[in-house]
């Protein structure tokens, strides 16, 4: 079973398995630190709930759910 990054709730962590090829922003997302095998934690949900802030590689990055859904992860809890 595969999960995507946008499914994580605040406080939950996951490890990135792969980023979907159809994601147009794949390069950009990788450059911001969302790369394979990286651990990601949700630290903040936005007011609308359509955007989350993630802690990855010691930086905090805000990402829309519509982009995060291309990032496949395994949930770490």
């Amino acid at each position: 079973m595969s999960n995507t990054l946008n499914e994580l709730k605040k406080g939950q962590s996951g490890r990135i398995v792969f980023i979907d090829k159809i994601c147009k922003q794949k390069n950009r997302i990788q450059d911001m630190g969302f790369t394979k095998n990286t651990e990601v934690t949700v630290v903040q949900e936005s007011i609308s709930g359509k955007l989350k802030a993630y802690l990855t590689k010691n930086t905090i990055v805000g990402l829309r759910d519509s982009d995060a859904k291309f990032i496949n992860i395994e949930i770490l809890g």
Partner: protein, 623 residues
């Protein structure tokens, strides 16, 4: 390579790692820095003079990747591939080495004439990080220098080492791992993945961690600033406070400056009488140039001196990216993205800066929309005009604190109205100009940093406020001459200015203002600061030349020339929405490289403002 007596050193790195701070520390220059990605979008040049030679230092805009997709990142990419430098200082944030290594490795694939600058080392140590710099240097093939730009720590060593690399006195090499990356021909995606693996490997072997970057304090602050219940209210409160401090704080200094200039005016008049200069020249100097300059200084300078430092402190603290995070959803509903809110915020300072700042928006469509609508945010040249009109017409029945609260509230309402119009226009434009899907929004939320209060305040004073003052003097001197000439010279006893305003009257009346006000907006094209002085001068040139010594006399001049609540409201709206000033127009032309977009940026706000004022006028007449 460059000639031997001039060494060129460039600074590259991720956004918000302190490149500009390092640049300032290296060159002794004073560029303002901020705690957010995208503060520097253009290249800055500086110099270090040593006994032997002059070193040129180039501050490149921040970049996440050499596989660029936004214009400011392309600058870095092109530069690294060019041969225009002797050494690149790769500035990295020591607290997030792994992410920073992604770009570092990309650069090192292309060149090894580089030095790694491990900046914010003090912060990293405070947070419990230990970095083995010798090991890191071995793994990267270049020297590694620890610095803290804030405390000027390690700067001297950084210069020395960079010069040695530039002169080939320290040999750098391309490590095998990076060579391998070059040899395999693989797609960009795979390349990024492999680089990430390398970055992870390097980080694991050189960094020891005992703490956490995202501290409890950051967590609490982020909860306050971005959570469902407190995010937006706090944002509004923060801005209400800044505007209130600006409105209230500027009051007294403004009055004092007014009085001071008036006092000087009397002495000047006397002096000129005694010297016996002819009356035409006297009138030009005093009624034209002096009056305009004194107006601009007393009305513009106090609010600017309060607003700019406050805003700079907010920037340094790291609050701005949180605003973009909060507002992204709202902006995406209107077809653009949250980064537009950052460029709008910059617009409060100066629309030309706001337009330049739009480089942080990756998608060309969103970028152009943000550029086009930026002038709807009242810049520093227009904010005082609004404050002045509000205090005369909308909050004149109140006094003291109460007046300042009411004024701030009305100012906020006007700005919110402008933001709403910006959003609506963005929606229309995004529907109209492209079928491209809404662009992605990825934003870094940096750790909160305590602003360096005194340094920031002194710096903004030196950089911004003296600049504004200088510009105001130049522009108002020129404008003063023009307005004075237009009102002094006449045909058949009717001044040129009157001809001009009479022609404009026909259109102006439809939108609730008069020809003089419209003429002032047109003549204020070089700088919006001079709109009110133009209005006053043309009113005064017709009637007996009475002097205005204070706000109250100012209000009586306006009222005696037919101003009502409606006139003031429509003037405020037109002040928010007419056309960008000449400087901003140049910036728009430069950024969009399109005459059509530039023309649109002039026409669209003007039509919008006219339509809104027309409706106000209509409703007002009906009541």
């Amino acid at each position: 390579m460059n000639c031997s007596n001039n060494t060129v050193i460039a600074l590259a790195g991720n956004p918000n790692v302190g490149k500009s701070s390092i640049f300032n520390a290296l060159t002794g220059m004073n560029q303002h820095t901020g705690n957010w990605s995208g503060k520097t979008v253009d290249v800055a040049y500086g110099e270090i003079k040593t006994k032997e030679k002059t070193i040129t230092v180039i501050d490149l805009p921040g970049s996440y990747s050499m596989l660029y997709d936004s214009p400011e990142e392309k600058i870095t990419d092109d530069f690294v591939l060019s041969d225009d430098y002797d050494c690149i200082i790769i500035v990295v944030d020591a607290t997030s080495l792994e992410r920073n290594l992604l770009l570092t490795i990309q650069i090192l694939q292309k060149t090894n004439k580089a030095v790694l600058c491990l900046n914010m080392i003090d912060e990293a140590q405070r947070r419990g990080y230990f970095i083995d710099t010798d090991e890191l240097s071995l793994m990267l093939g270049i020297p590694v220098i620890e610095t803290s730009a804030r405390n000027k720590y390690g700067i001297k060593k950084l210069i020395e080492t960079s010069v040695k690399v530039a002169e080939n006195k320290i040999m750098t090499y391309c490590v095998n791992d990076f060579k391998m990356l070059n040899e395999n021909s693989i797609s960009d995606e795979e390349l990024t993945e492999q680089i990430a693996v390398l970055a992870n490997k390097i980080t694991k072997s050189v960094v020891g961690v005992k703490g956490e970057v995202y501290t409890k304090r950051d967590r609490i602050l982020d909860n306050l600033f971005t959570s469902k219940f407190t995010g937006i209210p706090i944002m509004i409160l923060v801005f209400a406070l800044i505007f209130w401090l600006t409105v209230y704080g500027a009051n007294l200094p403004s009055d004092l400056l007014f009085e001071f200039f008036n006092l000087c005016k009397n002495y000047l008049n006397e002096l000129i009488l005694r010297i016996g200069i002819n009356d035409m020249v006297r009138s030009l100097m005093i009624d034209g140039i002096y009056t305009t300059i004194s107006w601009v200084i007393s009305v513009m300078l106090p609010p600017a001196s309060i607003f700019f430092p406050l805003f700079a402190l907010l920037e340094d603290f790291g609050y701005l990216p949180r605003i973009a995070f909060n507002l992204d959803r709202l902006f995406s509903i209107f077809g653009t993205n949250g980064k537009q809110s950052l460029t709008m915020l910059m617009g409060f300072g100066c629309n030309a800066c706001g337009v330049m700042g739009c480089r942080i928006i990756a998608s060309p469509k969103d970028r152009n929309i943000a550029i086009l609508t930026n002038s709807l945010i009242p810049c520093n040249g227009r904010l005082p005009t609004l404050i002045c009109l509000i205090s005369i017409f909308f909050s004149s029945n109140y006094y003291g604190y109460k007046k300042s609260f009411i004024s701030t509230l009305i100012l906020l309402l006007l700005i919110i109205f402008s933001v709403i119009i910006t959003l609506i226009l963005s929606l229309i434009l995004s529907k109209f100009f492209s079928k491209e899907k809404a662009s992605p929004f990825i934003i870094e939320l940096p750790p909160f940093r305590r602003p360096q209060f005194i340094k920031t305040i002194l710096l903004t004073f030196k950089n911004k406020i003296l600049y504004i003052l200088w510009r105001a003097i130049i522009v108002s001197a020129i404008a003063g001459v023009i307005i004075w000439s237009l009102s002094y010279f006449n045909i058949n006893n009717i001044s040129l200015l009157e001809y001009f305003t009479t022609i404009l009257d026909k259109y102006a009346i439809i939108i609730g203002i008069d020809g003089t006000i419209l003429a002032a907006f047109i003549l204020g094209f070089p700088a919006n600061e001079i709109v009110i002085p133009i209005i006053l001068m043309s009113y005064l040139s017709g009637a007996m030349l009475t002097d205005y010594n204070s706000m109250s006399e100012l209000s009586s001049i306006l009222i005696s020339n037919g101003w009502t609540f409606k006139t003031a409201l429509c003037t405020c709206i037109m002040c928010l929405m007419h056309f960008p000033c000449s400087t901003t127009c140049f910036a728009i032309k430069k950024e969009t490289k399109s005459t059509v977009w530039t023309l649109l940026s002039i026409v669209i706000p003007f039509i919008t403002g006219s339509v809104i004022c027309f409706i106000i006028n209509l409703i007002y007449d009906l009541i």
